[in-house]
Amino acid sequence: MKNKISMMQLFSLNIFIIISSFFGIGIYNVFKSAKTDAWISIINTTILSFIIFFLIIYIANYKKNLTIGEKVIHLYGKKMGTIINVLLILFVASTSISLIFNLGHFIVTQFLSETPVIAIEIIFSIAIIYINIKGLETISRTSLILFFISLIFVIFSILGLLPNIEINNYKPILEFGYKKTINGGIRIFLLNFVPLFLTLIIPKNQIKNKEKYNKYTLLSYLLGCIIILIITLVTLGNLGINLTKLYQYPEYIVLKRIEIFNFIDRIENLISMQWIFGLFIIISFCVYNINTLIKPNNKSKLLPIIILFAITLTTNLLFKNITIFNYYTYYIAPIIRICFLILIIIIALSIKIKKILKS
């Protein structure tokens, strides 16, 4: 198979999927539901993420040369398979509309207050369309490069913020019992980990060193969990619960407090590029997903343009302001993700039944 991607590239894609949905969306949800115990919620999520891990491993090992769309057609036949694929497309589209809004809104509110959001979306769309036309290899290669840059930024921001952590900001622990932390954990699981199914669009045979697939996937989940746990701890430790809940992007606001050796400061705009990189990669990957689900091995350059145009248009029509967006991410998005999770479980069960019947 041509255009194989490396295990490390898949690793970086997994990390970006977990982290980018956390920025502005996941963090808002987890602090709203679990408050000072948000970090315990993340630990709960780590445990829950094993469900996703086993499901992905199981589905990926079935017909290793097929994408998820082709596997569905193979399992359910053309008619039923197409219906399920449409549902998968809708799920991916629902993920990408929230991400594209988040990207535009973040840039407009924090950097370019007078710039129309559509101008920002168009600029990013050009780059997204370009790497989609180039194909999966380019997306994953870009992802790997940006992953290393982002990792440096993450380490730098953590080191800059660690000295300002106030232990009292984590207290009281478990004030409302485990219930709220479980709620927060489930939300993060649904918002940040369920989208990991996007990687099933890559047939296992298209990955170099596929024998290391399980190990790298598990490691990427754990690293993703550790990163969002550290982000949560550092944000809460620096800002406290009241300020964390006050801001839409507390992870960005907290970066303003970075001061290293008394002369490296006001570097939040540079460091926050990590979020922009993540959102850019995942939106690109979503477009690639929809593109492949509609037309596997598509060579047409028009389809990614149409998909991105439709996503951007829907975003602007659907989310008129941040209140609607927050309502969507807190109340509607988790329901969509639950439906999708059920769909994936059904696919996994169908594979199991098919294997049993075959044997």
Partner: protein, 391 residues
């Protein structure tokens, strides 16, 4: 074909990156401070201090007396409207990212500060790192229009004074706007803000004539801590109480403690380090202060080489700090009935089960017992081993 594609992309990029937020520095008025007062008709009066961007005169003697800032005043129903109306008199767009201080008048603070500060939390251009002060016995406008002799821009003068004060005296403490918002959002802590006064206020305080004098110069001075209850200003601490307050909040970096060493003799000691820990056991709050000091001045015939004398002096300093803290706690607890120390928050965070059993915090607050312990671990003697009088 490829060239056409690249050309098309370049054209699109040039049209899109067209810098909607493009601003030239010479088109901006850099705001250094904002003052908020209450206007006579109940509206809000905003004073905006802008750094002057006028070209300096080539005559150096003349440029020294020119004010380096100008102030704009505007009155309207809301802070946003008042600030926006400054455009009517300012030829340039106001740019508040580099704002250094926000001064809220005593009158506004007495009414409650929340309605005056909401604007500053919402505007993404404003960094919430500026310092906030209350103008005591005067208006915010007077504070921001007084020309100060040592710093050409008076907001810089106030900011630096507060920083130096925090570092060497402890009467005020650096509290950023973000810290105030954090306290306002926390219903278990009352707000406290340092205040600023004008000394030698006269009719020329806003003119360069003020800078030509060598004495009785009108100047802004950092004053004591303003105490709030339910987000409204209710009073001030004295300077000594403000120092004690800084001790309790662990904000002391350096301060001076003066104790009696004989009938008419005094010893001034500098606290060089200090650390305070507050803990609770039900309604007993224990405040432990541990620090080091340095004898800086003595007018007594005391032998600083004697362990006994040092011990006595140390114990006097400890007693002084302890009494000061006790007095301050009692005043705030009994007179102001305000929890500016955040004791409710401390109990809530350290003992949430016990906190839940408290039905009425205000009543409970009045019954809190304080156990204060102060320990000065080392007392240095400075450069000399004994006082000149002793020799």
């Amino acid at each position: 074909m490829k060239k056409i594609k690249i050309l098309t992309l370049l054209i699109i990029l040039f049209t899109l990156c067209g810098c909607y937020n493009y601003r030239e520095l010479n088109e901006l008025s850099i705001v250094s401070a904002i003052g908020i007062d209450k206007a006579k008709n109940g509206n809000i009066k905003v004073t905006i201090q802008v750094i002057s961007s006028k070209k300096e005169s080539s005559d150096s003697s003349q440029s020294n007396t020119n004010a380096k800032f100008i102030t704009y005043e505007s009155t309207d129903k809301t802070v946003q409207e008042a600030i926006r109306k400054v455009i009517l008199s300012s030829p340039k767009r106001l740019f508040a990212t580099q704002m250094q201080i926000l001064v809220i008048s005593e009158e506004c603070a007495k009414e409650g500060i929340t309605k005056y500060i909401d604007f500053f939390t919402r505007d993404p251009e404003i960094q919430m790192k500026f310092l906030t002060l209350i103008s005591k016995n005067t208006t915010a406008n007077n504070i921001l229009t007084t020309l100060t002799p040592l710093e050409t821009i008076n907001s810089t003068n106030i900011r630096e004074s507060l920083k130096t004060n925090t570092k060497y005296l402890g009467i005020g403490y650096e509290i950023t706007f973000e810290d105030i918002i954090n306290n306002l959002l926390n219903d278990k802590i009352e707000v406290s803000i340092p205040s600023v006064v004008i000394i030698n206020e006269n009719k020329n305080s806003d003119s360069t004539k003020n800078l030509e004098k060598v004495k009785n110069i009108a100047d802004s001075k950092i004053s004591s801590i303003a105490v709030f209850k339910n987000k409204k200003l209710i009073g001030y601490l004295t300077e000594q109480e403000s120092i004690a307050y800084s001790f309790i909040l662990n904000n002391i970096e350096n301060t001076i403690i003066t104790t009696k060493c004989s009938k008419n003799g005094l010893v001034s000691s500098e606290i060089t380090t200090s650390k305070t820990k507050i803990s609770n056991n039900k309604n007993n709050i224990s405040i432990k202060v541990v620090g080091n000091a340095n004898v800086n001045e003595s007018s007594c015939n005391i032998n600083l080489n004697s362990k006994k004398e040092i011990k006595k002096l140390r114990s006097e300093i400890e007693k002084n700090i302890k009494n000061n803290i006790k007095k301050t706690l009692t005043k705030v607890q009994k007179k102001y009935k305000s929890d500016i120390f955040g004791l409710e928050d401390i109990i809530y965070k350290n003992d949430p089960k016990y906190y839940k059993s408290i039905k009425n915090w205000d009543k409970f607050y009045q019954k809190i017992n304080f156990n204060i312990s102060v320990k000065i671990e080392t007392l240095e003697k400075g450069n000399t081993l004994y006082t000149p009088e002793r020799k």
